[in-house]
Amino acid sequence: MRREAADRANVVQFDGVGVRYGPGPEILQDISFALQAASFHFLTGPSGAGKSSLMRLMYLAQRPTRGRIVLFGCDVAQAKRYELPALRRRVGVVFQDFRLLDHLSALDNVALPLRVAGASEEEIQKYVPDLLNWVGLAEHIHSKPPTLSGGQKQRVAIARAVIGRPDLLLADEPTGNVDDHIAMRLMYLLDELNKLGTTVIVATHNEHLVSRLHHPRLRLENGRLRAG
């Protein structure tokens, strides 16, 4: 039912959104776009173009200075604060700096979204090891992030973002620390998820990846969105 509802509406819609930090110039200016359900987009642009700020707006880490953001048909500015966690649970995020919890094992890190959503331990033990196995971390299931390499941490972060089968997946440089082979494998995972109905946005500098996967791109330049 929830997925059908998402199918009928745009998953993400920005209307004239601007972001400014303090008294400085706007980091994002007049951003307007709409993403349909089950679409796959790359978000590209040079460093400092505002990609991370745009991602932060989409995963509800900050409010825009102006404009309107509609997520899953819900105007974020109008939503009550207690309604936002449910919206966030429909969004999977791969952070650029991973943001894994160092005191938890890879399994517990990946299980976090399920636990937050109230899943049982049986469900966690059923799905999480399988996914970790799929991303090539079967032997590191009980390892804690400080003992993992950059690429392994990145795979744990991706697994954590996709474990809850989110309606919208936001990945900020998800292949930045892995070799091409693993990068393609991870992108295929995102592709598979997309085919199952998840809307995917991947912010990346990797032109090779963008050209191989033939998905439309949103291009940010100097805080403005340009045609891909």
């Binding site: 995963y59 509800l60 409010r63 966030r88 943001r99 919890l101 976090l112 937050v116 954590r160």
Partner: protein, 299 residues
């Protein structure tokens, strides 16, 4: 169970909350002393009120003269006083104490010697007042003094009212101390939780961004605060129980009518034993409040 619920936050290794049991322990200790004081005083007041309110004592000094003559004259004075009392509106009952009862009253101080029976003891009349009819005590006192030589009216209601007033003040002071201690505990837990949140800011942010409601994060801090405060409360109580028991045993040994009830009633024991749980609940609710207040600043 609250104690073995898993936590996503590394609160068990948290140095900021480790001091909490050692802070709650003296708080619970002091609260237990104050609370026990409240219950003991309350019991004493009720007992004094029950025993003495609505009663008077008339004392008639032993009439001068030889032993036999003195006793006879004193007996006549008592009868006169009884007749006067029975004719006074508002007096429910007037009863003269027997020689044996007088001797028994003096026995704790003078022993059970036969000598007591030969002493010219004053006569005592125990008077019970009607609750619904006020008695003019000044007029009664004057009338008694005029009619019965050596008679005096002991109105211990004034003395009792002052004593009860003092006790009530002490009782409220003790209640205030318990509330003050509760407030201090709350404030400490509040700031300890805020410090803990600052220490674990990054973890909290991740949980928040993956969709954890405030209650999910708040529960983890609240569980931790509950466990630590309960641990501290039990330590405080363990230090307190022997002291309260010793006071009870000590006052029982005195066997004095006034101090015999300086023991904690069962409801007082129940309240004192529940103090660690109360402290833990206060800590839990405070921690939850601190988390919700802090998270409310986030989107």
């Amino acid at each position: 169970m609250i104690f073995d619920r898993r936590s996503d936050l590394p609160l068990k290794d948290d140095a900021t909350s480790r001091f909490l049991p050692w802070l709650v322990a003296p708080m619970v200790f002091l609260s237990a002393v104050a609370l026990a004081g409240v219950f003991i005083l309350n019991t004493l007041i009720n007992r004094w009120d029950r025993d003495v309110s609505g009663t008077l004592t008339i004392e008639i000094a032993a009439a001068p003269g030889e032993a036999g003559e003195s006793a006879e004259r004193t007996r006549r004075y008592v009868e006169t006083a009884l007749a006067l009392l029975k004719g006074t509106p508002g007096i429910a009952e007037a009863r003269a104490l027997t020689q044996e009862q007088l001797v028994a009253l003096l026995a704790p101080w003078l022993g059970n010697s036969d000598l007591l029976k030969e002493l010219p003891l004053p006569a005592l009349i125990d008077v019970t007042l009607k609750a619904d009819t006020p008695v003019d005590l000044d007029a009664l006192s004057r009338k008694l003094a005029q009619t019965v030589p050596g008679a005096s009216l002991d109105d211990h209601r004034i003395w009792l009212a002052r004593l009860i007033g003092l006790s009530r003040s002490i009782e409220w002071l003790a209640v205030g101390i318990v509330l003050l201690i509760g407030g201090a505990t709350s404030a400490t837990v509040f700031y300890a939780t805020r410090t803990g949140m600052a220490v674990h800011r990054e973890v909290i942010e991740v949980l928040h961004l993956i969709g954890a409601p405030d209650g999910y994060i708040g529960r983890q801090f609240a569980d931790r605060a509950f466990t630590l405060a309960l641990r501290g409360g039990i330590i405080g109580l363990a230090l307190n129980v022997p002291i309260l028991a010793a006071i009870g045993i000590g006052t029982n040994r005195l066997q004095g009518g006034f101090l015999a009830e300086l023991t904690l009633p069962w409801i007082g024991w129940a309240a004192v034993l529940l103090l660690p749980l109360a402290a833990a609940t206060v800590a839990m609710l405070t921690a939850r409040l601190a988390v919700h207040q802090t998270l409310a600043r986030l989107l």
